[in-house]
């Protein structure tokens, strides 16, 4: 209907000019949102998205739950959705766009699709319908050679893709790294020292680009493409944004040394790529005029570099800093976070002046079972047996009663713990607790949870 006619019928019609570029941007944003379901999201311009959900459905329970979730989110954004699941990308796409009649299963659903689902040109589609071939199933029952002879090889390929006989690869949308350099070789590079040298050159190029943008890299990824098709990626991370080529190369060397399965050039690498997926602003460093100390700046950088190097060698979770958690449960009161992420310092609860330490220096997690002689029901322990040795208790303080976090537990339950600070006859101080009160549990067990200084 022309716009003039529509306006004549509905005088207050809201009119928006069609902007295909903006539509594409919006589709791209939706696709980015859909990466919450699967990393493989492809754009089907102008108005479709194809998600490869192989192996991803369990995250939401089932295929139906996943579709419900997508439906809910996109509807909230004002979108109207037609969706379908299929064994291949082309089949799913055709089902979503052309399915009109319900079918018992996917295979028969595809066969009941109209021939328009092949998306041939209008002339060919009309010719097929005139010939009495109205559905994909009708067409599939004919010899493929005849179809190719009459309607062209494209029609045969489209048909085979729809039926799953030919592969229909997905072209997933990938976010290109903000900075990437690569090098292709006419002659494969077969020696590791040479490859490392080229990596250093790539790092140098990337650093120049970073410096131009006033950024520093937090995450570097080197990908080695072998001539026989294998590709291997090596990644490093730094705690602070850096533009120090020497540091980056040292970390790469560290990472390569730590590889259990070393990098093998095989018949040689025919391409190498260096990507910097994560950037942060990094201004040029300058000491203050009023006398910033070179030594202090240098030491801070040296410590940060040590953290990077150890985290690269041992794994990022092996170099930790502690953060406080606001909870009464002792083993949950601290979190060991990777030092490379550099979380801001958290306030720790201040100890009461004049009191001895109420929390141990070393904590056993999980607590270790001990045998205790104690008065029933609420008495302090008198002696306990731990690791095949008996300890007689000279002094104690307690109980410090710590209830379970019933407000967080689904069953509103959990056992109460009675903690005792005890000292044995040789002056060692332990943290013991009874797991459960006698009215919660008939025979509560005792545990040792920590050692005091």
């Amino acid at each position: 209907m022309p716009l003039a006619d529509a306006r004549a019928q509905v005088p207050d019609l809201a009119i928006v000019a069609h902007d295909p570029v903006l539509d594409l941007h919006w589709l791209d944003r939706l696709a980015q949102g859909c990466t919450r379901y699967t990393p493989l999201v492809a754009l089907d311009a102008p108005d479709g998205l194809i998600l490869d959900i192989t192996g991803c459905t369990h995250l939401l329970g089932s295929e139906a739950a996943l579709i419900d979730d997508i439906d809910r989110r996109l509807t909230r954004l004002g979108m109207t959705l037609r969706h379908a699941l299929g064994p291949t990308a082309d089949a799913a796409r055709a089902l979503a766009r052309y399915q009109t009649r319900p079918a018992p299963d996917e295979a028969s659903a595809i066969r009941r699709l109209p021939v328009a689902a092949l998306e041939l040109d209008a002339e060919a589609t009309t010719a097929l319908v005139r010939a009495g071939l109205k559905t994909i199933g009708d067409l599939a029952s004919r010899p493929m050679a005849n179809i190719a002879a009459r309607f062209g090889a494209d029609a045969a390929t489209a048909l085979r893709r729809l039926l799953g006989d030919a592969p229909s690869p997905l072209d997933p949308r990938v976010t290109p790294p903000p900075v990437a350099t690569e090098r292709r070789f006419a002659e494969p590079v077969a020696s590791m020292p040479h490859a490392t040298q080229i990596l250093a050159e790539l790092v140098g190029e990337a650093i120049v680009e970073l410096a131009e943008r006033g950024k520093g890299g937090r995450h570097f990824r080197a990908t080695f493409f072998r001539s026989d098709g294998l590709a291997r990626s090596i990644e490093i991370e730094t705690g602070h944004a850096t533009r120090d080529a020497g540091l980056v190369m040292r970390l790469f060397a560290e990472r390569m040394d730590a590889l259990r399965d070393p990098l093998d050039p095989g018949f040689g690498f025919d391409m190498m790529r260096l990507a910097v997926p994560r950037l942060e602003a990094l201004a040029a460093t300058q000491l203050k005029l009023e006398g910033g100390t070179v030594r202090a700046a240098h030491q801070g950088a040296a410590m940060a570099e040590l953290v990077d190097r150890l985290a690269t060698r041992l794994g990022r979770g092996r170099v930790c800093k502690f953060a406080a958690v606001d909870t009464h449960i002792p083993e949950q009161a601290q979190l060991a976070l990777p030092a490379i992420d550099a979380a801001p310092p958290t306030p720790w609860p201040a100890p009461d002046p004049g009191e001895p330490p109420l929390r141990p220096f070393y904590l056993f997690d999980p607590p270790q079972v001990i045998e205790v002689i104690a008065e029933v029901p609420d008495g302090p322990p008198h002696r306990f047996r731990w690791r095949r040795a008996t300890h007689a208790i000279r002094r104690y303080e307690g109980p410090e009663r710590i209830a379970s976090e019933w407000w967080r537990r689904r069953d509103n339950g959990g056992l109460t713990r009675d903690y005792y600070r005890v000292e044995d006859d040789r002056g060692r101080r332990y943290w013991l607790f009874r797991h459960g009160l006698y009215d919660e549990k008939p025979d509560p067990r005792w545990y040792i949870h920590g050692l005091f200084a």
């Binding site: 150890l310 060698r313 092996r318 930790c320 100890p351 001895p356 002056g427 060692r428 101080r429 200084a453």
Partner: protein, 262 residues
């Protein structure tokens, strides 16, 4: 003395040259990790020397927490925000327990300064310790090991010590469940938990340590101390005597050079 062979004489000369320039004790210490206990610090000439190796032995595994806490408090009590690097193996958490940051906060230390580095095995522990001592700017590097540490022979120990000296870091070797072996450490301590001074209602009091100086390159060894940690003042002090604790004079050599002669 006439040397029996030319190469031997050459080697001796070389050793003499090295000893004159590069020995661990050839440079005066840059500072001290002091305990705040006057007699203790003055007996050691100021405290535990910075830029050197110090060993803390807990012969009994159950005293491990005391030895670890003493080393940590010594490094942290100086204040400032220099990080304390603590290296241990992954299985140490199961054996002696995980380092518990709220416990360090209760002792008056700042857990934010703690940087925990866990390695898969003792070999990697030594390699990381070598990197850590060569990095200037830490309050101290604590290397916690369990049992015999055959990899830490004289060569490895000397390498660590030289690294610490060059970077000016203090290396505190925490040897739990181990007996002393020859080493190039500046001082070597045996640390045992001591009965604390009881509080009201016979509750265990502030942490107390029995220290014995087993070896000291700069002077006589064999001295014993019994110290309490006062977290409010951030100092170690003498265990205040009470009826429950035996007086210490009988066990303590007040003057290490023959108390009988005095």
């Amino acid at each position: 003395m006439r040397e029996s062979s030319q190469p031997l004489a050459g080697l001796r000369q070389r050793i003499a040259r090295l000893a004159a320039t590069g020995g661990p004790a050839s440079r005066p210490a840059e500072g001290w990790l002091a305990t705040g206990h006057g007699a203790f610090d003055s007996a050691l000439g100021g405290g535990l020397a910075v830029g050197r190796t110090h060993e803390f032995f807990a012969a009994d595994a159950l005293d491990g927490a005391s030895a670890a806490a003493f080393a940590a408090l010594l490094a942290l009590r100086g204040g400032g925000d220099a990080p304390l690097l603590w290296l241990r193996t992954v299985d140490a958490g199961r054996r002696t327990g995980h380092i518990y940051a709220p416990g360090i906060a209760e002792l008056g230390g700042d857990p934010d300064r703690l940087l925990l580095i866990e390695t898969a095995d003792p070999k990697m522990l030594l390699a990381c310790a070598n990197d850590a001592v060569r990095c200037a700017g830490s309050a101290a590097v604590i290397v916690e090991s369990w049992g015999k540490f055959p990899l830490l022979d004289l060569t490895a120990g000397r390498r660590l010590t030289l690294g610490a000296r060059d970077a000016g870091t203090t290396l505190l070797m925490l040897r739990l469940n181990a007996a002393p072996t020859p080493s190039v450490a500046e001082t070597r301590w045996s640390i045992v938990a001591a009965p604390s001074r009881a509080l009201a209602a016979d509750a265990p009091g502030a942490p107390a340590f029995d220290l014995e100086l087993l070896r000291w390159r700069g002077g006589p060894a064999g001295t014993r101390w019994r110290l309490d940690w006062d977290k409010d003042e951030q100092i170690f002090r003498d265990t205040a005597l009470s009826g429950a604790v035996l007086p210490l004079a009988a066990r303590r050599a007040v003057h290490p050079f023959g108390a009988e002669a005095a």
